[in-house]
């Protein structure tokens, strides 16, 4: 989206920003990339809406125990009285939705769907966010190293990235999760699974970041300001961290925001296939896989976690798209 076909928006932006930055009498102030991006982002209504939903979801995830104690029941509490004893389906219409159970109850054991969705948000966001951090960290370090040093270092890192990208990732992650033990490095229970998920999703994600960072570094290291720093006697470390890294922040931010929704989908897929966090810990993908057995008679229980995944991923995508457009120096929106 970099074609300057209709430059009116850019022109409009220039004129409004010029007007805003230079009220009568005061000198014109330069604005940082962050300020420009923020002004653009504020004008993108869809992205803002996405951002608000993301913020709400984060709040829900953090305050899950509080919200559940106010509006639901503990996520692992059974309510056999809400279940039709004959069919095992929730009593009442629409999966047992009532003022007491806002999103109905689970078939067979009657656990409160609302509180399981709220707790599921925790797992989803936590895994997706931490995995993105892992991927961005490894990808940035190795990408800069490959791009800056070049030569055999670059070839080696690039080969590894190519190879990882050609791996059948989902298959690998599932097999890996299935053989790893339940106790690892002093962690037990669902913490182990969370750590494993973060590790493998992040590990398979870093080549995408690495490729982008490498490409950017390759072009940036030839820039005059880097040469200037070098000729002034700047050390390797200074050039890498003070000259190159700040200029890589924008592409890395964009990629990280757009990586989170992908990670959410991956986590949900793994849980759906039984390779995610273990029951009774609630996760959205796992709820969907439980719903596979009963969706014909009780579609509500399938629709609720599905819509939860959809809304979350969509919100992150909208927000990420907005951030990308806002940070793109050639952007016309």
């Amino acid at each position: 989206m970099t074609a300057p076909l209709h430059d009116t928006s850019v022109d409009a932006e220039k004129s409004t920003t010029a007007g805003a930055a230079a009220p009568a009498g005061t000198p014109v102030q330069g604005r940082s990339l962050r300020q420009i991006a923020w002004t653009r982002l504020k004008r993108d209504k869809l992205a803002l809406a996405g951002g608000v939903v993301v913020l709400l979801l984060v709040i829900v995830a953090i305050f899950a125990p509080l919200i559940v104690s106010l509006l639901g029941h503990p996520p692992n509490e059974f309510h056999q009285d809400k279940i039709d004893p004959l069919f095992g389906t929730p009593a009442g219409s629409f999966g047992g939705i009532s003022s007491e159970h806002l999103l109905g109850v689970e078939p067979n054991n009657g656990r409160d769907v609302f509180s399981r969705i709220v707790y599921g948000a925790r797992i989803s966001l936590l895994v997706a966010f931490l995995a993105a951090v892992v991927a961005v960290f490894i990808g940035t370090v190795l990408g800069i190293v490959a791009g800056y040093f070049g030569g055999w270092v670059d070839s080696a890192i690039s080969r590894v990235m190519d190879m990882l990208l050609a791996f059948p990732q989902l298959l690998f992650i599932i097999s890996l999760v299935s053989v790893l033990p339940n106790n690892l490095l002093g962690m037990t229970g669902s913490n182990v699974r969370i750590a494993i998920l973060v590790g493998v999703i992040g590990f398979f994600g870093w080549p995408y970041v690495g490729r982008i960072v490498r490409g950017q570094t390759l072009s940036l290291r030839e820039k005059e300001y880097v040469e200037a720093a070098r000729s002034l006697g700047a050390g390797r470390r200074y050039v890498l961290f003070k000259e190159l890294l700040p200029n890589l922040v924008a592409p890395i931010t964009v990629y990280a925001t757009l990586m989170i929704p992908t990670n959410i989908l991956t986590e949900a897929a793994l849980s759906f296939l039984g390779a995610g966090v273990r029951p009774p810990t609630a996760s959205w993908g796992q709820m969907l896989s439980t719903a596979v057995d009963t969706y014909e008679s009780n579609p509500t229980f399938m629709i609720v976690p599905g819509v939860a995944i959809f809304i979350t991923v969509l919100a992150f995508n909208l927000f990420g798209d907005g951030v990308r457009d806002a940070l793109d120096p050639k952007g016309t929106r």
């Binding site: 076909l5 190879m163 990208l165 989902l170 690998f172 097999s175 897929a269 296939l273 969907l288």
Partner: protein, 332 residues
């Protein structure tokens, strides 16, 4: 050109070696490191020490990992025999191993699953490329109109929907409520109607998901291309808009679409895991999931290798096609 292809084929072979080695490490080194014995994984519910020892002997699990790896690679090329005293199982080339769960060679299981996955991928791919590219082009040409916004919103929604959710929804509506399609998968050559019936829903849901990405990509590229000088030149020559877009602009649009297509087709052939488990299709992905569930290493290894092979070949084909599509690309 030939040198290039040979070099790339060599890289593919290397890649497959690495994938095999990694899978070996996952299933033999990791469990040992975590304190369990791979022979127990194969034995399943059996706990009789003699039976486990038998499995260990027959599969050669007592050998060092590198020896096992070498035997496996050799088996792929010339076939091999599994022996434990009088108990001999012959496995002709290409020997992907011998499944202890089903007491069958892996290769026939793979050849049975591959056509299912191929049918799924081919049909869906056709739908999504046509649909996605068309929607993207129209959106780019009518940028900012209601159509553009609607198409891009639908596309964004499509990217955000998990296949196992849309899949279940489509099954609930079209298979359960309306009873239009459904039933067990049947091979194409045996029963065309049944084949089509079981695949049409997965095709459409998969295509919807992927078309979204292609529409967004095509739109972005198209917008960029329409600003190029050669488009202005083409218009200045007096070519009709149809030729300008169809011949000149579209040609550049195909390059990124093809890149993505290579990645997607490879990934889909190797692991339509989610689609196949949602729609209960007996393809490679289902085979993988089932065998991971029973820790049936030879089958998992086989599927992973075939998957990696598909991914590599798809990428190679795409790189070769670049030269055909984009006159600026020279391969050498």
């Amino acid at each position: 050109m030939l040198a290039y292809v040979i070099r790339r084929l060599f890289a593919v072979a290397m890649m497959l070696l690495v994938v095999t080695l990694t899978t070996f490490v996952i299933f033999f080194v990791l469990p040992k490191w975590a304190g369990s014995d791979p022979a127990y994984l194969f034995a399943g519910k059996q706990t009789d020490p003699a039976a486990i020892e038998g499995i260990r002997q027959k599969l050669g699990l007592a050998d060092p990992v590198l020896v096992q790896f070498w035997n496996f690679v050799q088996g792929l090329i010339v076939g091999r025999e599994y022996t434990n005293g009088a108990d001999v199982t012959n496995c002709p080339a290409p020997c992907f191993g011998y499944s202890f769960r089903t007491e069958q060679d892996v290769w026939p299981q793979l050849t049975e699953a591959i056509p299912v996955t191929l049918s799924l991928a081919a049909g869906a791919c056709l739908l999504w490329v046509v649909g996605g590219v068309a929607a993207g082009v129209v959106s780019a040409l009518r940028r900012g109109t209601l159509w553009d916004r609607a198409a891009m919103t639908v596309a964004l929604a499509g990217v955000s929907l998990p296949i196992y959710f849309t899949g279940l929804l489509s099954l609930a509506v079209f298979s359960y409520q309306l009873d239009w399609v459904g039933g067990e998968y049947a091979p194409l050559e045996e029963d065309f109607a049944q084949w089509f019936q079981t695949l049409v829903l997965p095709w459409i849901t998969l295509a919807f998901l992927y078309a979204a990405m292609y529409a967004r990509l095509t739109r972005a590229t198209m917008l960029e291309v329409m600003g190029e000088d050669y488009i202005r030149t083409a218009r200045a020559k007096g070519l009709t808009e149809r030729v300008v877009i169809g011949r000149h602009a579209m040609r550049s649009t195909w390059t990124p679409v093809l890149t993505l297509l290579g990645l997607d087709i490879g990934a889909l052939l190797g692991g339509a895991v989610l689609t196949e488990s949602t729609y209960n299709l007996p393809g490679l992905g289902r085979l993988a999931i089932d065998s991971i569930g029973t820790k049936d290493l030879p089958v998992i290894l086989g599927v992973t290798l075939v998957a990696a092979l598909f991914i590599c070949v798809a990428n190679l084909l795409v790189d070769l096609l670049y030269a055909v599509i984009d006159p600026r690309v020279r391969i050498g």
